[in-house]
Symmetry: C2
């Protein structure tokens, strides 16, 4: 990094919180609480693959961090900090100002300070690499392999909005184009339940964040845990703005739509009251949508449209 | 990530060491020893900026990790693990096999297991993002700001080889082209003294890895510590193969050449015997090349060529 690229550092030179050594030495230094494990996750976002060149930079800064803290939440980990690698075709100060503002707002909100990074000129397009670190009590991490038959299956928030927003951006359902303004924030500014997820450690068993669709991501839990699941579609929370769409469109968006960054988790029925209290404390909607059972695959009851293999990519894995 | 890109995972699906949860869940989980801090560093390497498109992929895999564990060593941290983000224009299995082999060989050698990652298709060229994590005893990290007047200034290994290798690759000194075979490994496969660096915590005060040149990197320590330095050029270890070159070329390579990934550190004179014993134990050359003094700037004595501003980029900062 040299010349004008050192300028970029300006946009990310935020003071580190007390107890943390941030940008400016060979490494950042972070405290990890006694009896805790370090949780780490990383994502690489490439312009033209993961986001459109004209994506609002503030939303992009938000989302680049959101997808990573969502993984921390899905492990039951409390954020400690993050590092950012940024490769840009040119120094565009207006872009940087907005990107850094979006990144920082979420960083402040969820308590995941930026402690280090690297910036460089790219040959083509914007590349964003984020690594987020958190801590979780020994033995209380929400591993995918921890679900047990009889566990309740929960989801947070609502489903389907991000998927339909993407379809509308791609020009589908032109008669519903007016919905885009309502749904777009669900695609561009996902709000993973970070503090709630961290509170689930010790309460829930298995968890995953919904990035590829409910059926597919729940499927990862089932495969890792060697179980099956029964879902009641009538309990699965679709985003309320979807109600004007055809049932088939909604069903597909809810069961298979990705980019949700809400949690799907399993827990013993004895934990229900504690989980509801935790959700209330964090202002999170959390609902039971089914149950883990022995066997394999996902059976969905009360679905208005028959679940075939067609288009149910997540379901295919278990058909 | 989808389709053929899931294949890439195959090349990096190495079993995690005992006590570590590696690839396959929302996060990796790593133990951090009681009384230790987490040390984190990240680097982004872009084809056409940091390496040539025809760079040997095995050497590239090595170097991508080497530059990060070098930062851990410069903090006195013991490696815990690393994550890798890889963006490739296409799936080239021969390239992946070699890249992963080079990455893994160094990972095994220095004890820095790959615990997670993300792969994606790039729009143009190869992008490599590595984040390395380590642990260092509370209060024993080798911060840049810790040097004190009277401290010895040490360097490990030898200097100048990587810089001259780069110049030869760029077509300079054609009469010495035969040197390239000897020098190239110092450019393409740097060997940071990782275990030695970790052993320095508690023995040394300030440290930095030499990535931008001795004068410039020592300058970072001086600036952060509010000190100056006296160097004796006759004590600075040039790579022995450079002796056939003009003194001016060697002097510039040794004082300003980057890509070294050896350590420059300061320590109280009382630590000399322990540091020499540590170096002996790890098979590392470590030499005293000068002393920290009050004031600012670097004074270099016994230099065969006068140090002007011309070309002494590192020196300029303190001229």
């Amino acid at each position: 990094m040299g010349g004008e690229f050192t300028l970029i550092g300006r946009y990310f030179d935020w003071p580190a919180p007390p107890g943390i050594l941030g940008v400016g030495d060979d490494c950042a230094l972070l405290p990890v609480s006694p009896g805790h494990r370090l949780a780490v996750t990383t994502d690489l976002l490439v312009e033209g693959r993961h986001f459109f060149p004209d994506t609002c930079p503030e939303a992009l800064g938000h989302k680049a961090l959101a997808v990573n803290v969502s993984d921390l939440a899905a492990m039951g980990a409390r954020p400690l900090g993050c590092v950012l690698g940024l490769s840009l075709p040119r120094v565009d100060e207006a872009w940087l100002e907005k990107f850094s503002r979006g990144f920082r707002a979420l960083s402040d909100e969820v308590g995941c300070p930026l402690v280090g990074g690297d910036t460089t000129r790219s040959v083509a397009g914007v590349i964003i690499s984020v690594t987020a670190m958190g801590e979780v009590s020994e033995g209380a991490a929400l591993k995918r392999s921890a679900a047990k038959p009889g566990d309740d299956i929960w989801v947070t928030g609502s489903l389907g909005a991000a998927h339909v927003a993407l379809e509308l951006l791609q020009g589908q359902y032109p008669e519903h184009a007016a919905l885009l303004d309502t749904l777009r924030p669900w695609l561009e500014r996902p709000q993973p339940p970070v503090a709630f997820g961290s509170g689930l450690s010790g309460l829930a068993r298995a968890a995953i964040d919904i990035s590829d669709g409910l059926l597919q991501d729940l499927g990862h839990i089932l495969k890792a845990s060697g179980c099956g699941a029964d879902l009641d579609y009538s309990l699965v929370p679709a985003h309320p703005a979807l109600k004007e769409l055809d049932a088939a469109i909604v069903q597909r968006a809810v069961l298979n739509g990705g980019d949700v960054y809400q949690l799907c988790f399993t827990a013993d029925a004895a934990a229900r009251a504690d989980i509801k209290a935790l959700a209330l404390r964090h202002g999170i909607e959390a609902r039971i949508i089914g149950r883990i059972r022995p066997g394999q695959g996902i059976h969905v009851s009360a679905a208005p449209v028959p679940l075939g293999k067609e288009g149910y990519a997540g379901f295919d894995h278990f058909g």
